[in-house]
């Protein structure tokens, strides 16, 4: 320090100007970076690696084993699962699996959304239903002894009303589909003559099923079931009475409008009689005198009314052969 001072004195006159300059610049730096310490700044070429965060420690909670594991095999299932409910893995002691995995088996029942989505019928086991029925029996009346079988039932109660009830757990218990009413009645149980039956079938269109002989009237246009039921009754009544009514324009029905092939008014009869009386033109189209004409009539009617198949064509062939008096003696 002393030497420095000496040297400083010695060189003061020469260095004074430099020192002044140095101070000046130093004061400038101090003004700008007044808060930094007097260290050099470090250039970080490689930023420091982040310190790995410690894993959060999982809290261990003690979960008892699922109830399904220690259920006795002879337990009363309807009391375990008394009502309709979403699937719960711990309550159902069944090794169920549902869903799809790319590799491996289907997911098991725990935390399985697929099993929860689908409706289950675990509350509708046969013993549960039996118990329901037993409980409901006290409210039922005795079945009429006369109505022994299905035939007698349908004879006395020809009309069947079909509607659906829906029950499920949601904020509302109403289902819009519950309003729809189907009224079914057998065509044979209605009192109809030939004209009325033909007209009724034309009016009904596809509401009549010829295979089962059942007319089905569906009413769904009103908001309530009762209204729809009344409307279905009204429709049945209207269509029945309308079919009995004979309008003036119905007399204009021609062969093309016929619902079946009537041989007596057909071209076939005309050509048969013309053929028989040839070369004299026929005076009246009486076919009774022609031998085998009735067989031919039946064959043609069947061919056209029942649809053409190999059997009906063969029948027609035999009829025509008898009519034309031809024999085939060379059948193999």
């Amino acid at each position: 320090m002393l030497s420095f001072r000496l040297r400083f004195k010695a060189s003061l006159p020469q260095n004074l100007s430099k020192i002044l300059k140095l101070f000046a610049t130093r004061s400038n730096i101090l003004e700008t970076n007044s808060n930094e310490s007097e260290q050099f700044r470090v250039l970080d070429l490689y930023p420091q690696t982040k310190v790995m965060q410690e894993k959060r420690k999982t809290r261990k909670t003690s979960i008892p084993p699922s109830r399904a594991t220690n259920m006795p095999t002879d337990q009363d299932w309807p009391s375990v699962w008394p009502g309709a409910r979403t699937f719960h893995p711990a309550s159902v002691p069944l090794p169920l699996r549902q869903g799809y995995q790319e590799k491996g088996a289907s997911p098991n029942k725990y935390a399985n959304a697929e099993l929860m989505k689908i409706p289950n019928f675990l509350h509708l086991t046969p013993p549960a239903i039996q118990r329901h029925c037993e409980a409901l029996k006290q409210f039922c009346t005795k079945w009429p002894t006369v109505l022994e079988n299905e035939e007698i039932c349908s004879k006395h109660f020809p009309i069947e009303i079909i509607s659906s009830d829906y029950c499920y757990s949601s904020p509302t218990i109403r289902d819009p589909l519950a309003r729809i009413v189907n009224l079914q009645v057998k065509l044979s149980s209605l009192y109809l003559d030939t004209h009325a039956k033909d007209k009724l079938l034309r009016l009904l269109g596809n509401k009549y099923n010829p295979e089962t002989d059942i007319i089905t009237i569906t009413a769904d246009r009103c908001p309530l079931r009762k209204q729809n039921l009344e409307y279905a009754w009204y429709l049945l009544m209207a269509v029945y009475h309308e079919s009995w009514r004979v309008e003036s324009w119905e007399a204009e029905k021609s062969i093309a409008d016929m619902e079946y092939f009537d041989w007596d008014t057909s071209q076939s009869r005309t050509s048969l009689v013309t053929l028989y009386t040839w070369p004299i033109p026929p005076t009246d189209y009486d076919y009774e005198i022609i031998p085998h004409a009735t067989e031919y009539k039946i064959a043609v009617s069947d061919l056209i009314n029942n649809g053409e198949d190999q059997y009906s064509v063969n029948k027609y062939k035999e009829a025509v052969k008898n009519l034309l008096n031809l024999k085939c003696d060379n059948k193999e």
Partner: protein, 391 residues
Amino acid sequence: MERTVGQPVNDSFLRRIRKTHSRKFSTVVEVKDEQASQVCSFRTAENNPINHNTDHIARLYTVPIDIQRQIFQNGGLPGKFMKQVTTFQECSIMVRQPAIEIISYLNQVDYTRPVNKYVLYGKFGVGKSLTLCHILHYAFAQKYVLVHIYWAAHWFKDMKEVATSVLSPGCMDLPIDAGLWLKHFKFQNSKLLSELDLKVSKDYVWNQREMTSQGTSILELVEFGMNRIKYACGVIDALIKELKLASIAGKCKTMVVIDGFNAFTSSHTRIRNDNKVMVLPKQVSLAIPFFDITKNDWCNGAIVVTVDQTANKDRRESHLPRYLLGKEGFEHLDPFIPVLIEDYNIAEFDSMIEYYKDRKWIRNITSSGQRELELITNRNPFVLMDQCKFL
């Protein structure tokens, strides 16, 4: 045996072959032996269809070449079968149950009564047209006048020319097709008609200058139609009427043979009139006479027609006659005798295979190969013919 492979360079070599292997290489002698041994099994020497009966069923008979030329010159045999005829150098047709059935009907029928109608039906390729050919040959042998349309649908599908009809207003003419049909008719019947010497019963006026007067022969009428094809449709109309009259009078017997008759009752044609509107078959002047002759208001004849799924465009789902004819067609033909043609039975199939073997069309076929052929073709004649092309 003598092979004339007269190459001087190979002469000595060939001589050596002839000495040693000639028996193996020769084929001519073997063929003769085969024919001699198998002639009774699948062929019948009875080439006259008049004499065919149940004994000849499932055997092939050969249509003599001169008769084949005369009846089928302008068509009649199906195209693919015609190729086979050319290849085999003989026109052999199998005698089958439906043809025998119809021939027996034709033999027993009372010709003073109105004509009977026979409708052949069956699935595609079961041999409807060939059965028709057999019956046509029978009718030719029995000296019927042949009114033969070998494929009716041609007129409404591949017609040559369409013109508005002069003679029958509101109808369309197919002059070239009509001319061709007249040519076909003349080819088939020229001999018979010159023998019968049928005359025209009334005057037909074609225009101010041309007319066919009463007493002209039918052949002249046909000639006129061929020369003046503008009036060919009218000539056909007159010809059919004259044939009907002649048949009723007993001067001749007439056989109407139409393949694909349901083309006449189709609701679709490719013929358009001047306003580009489709013309139905009943408005085509060429078809009207054939509607007329298929009515049963004449006698001394027979009508044999086929109904075919391929003959019309609109109805193709079923092969049954009422469906294919439609309501109007059924009413038109009713009452007719439907005759079903089915696939080959086992005997027919075997004799057909034997025939193909005989013609060297299929060679070296084992019994299992034959069984396979039976299964893949389902014994359908057309499919069999098609499958045997490669064997």
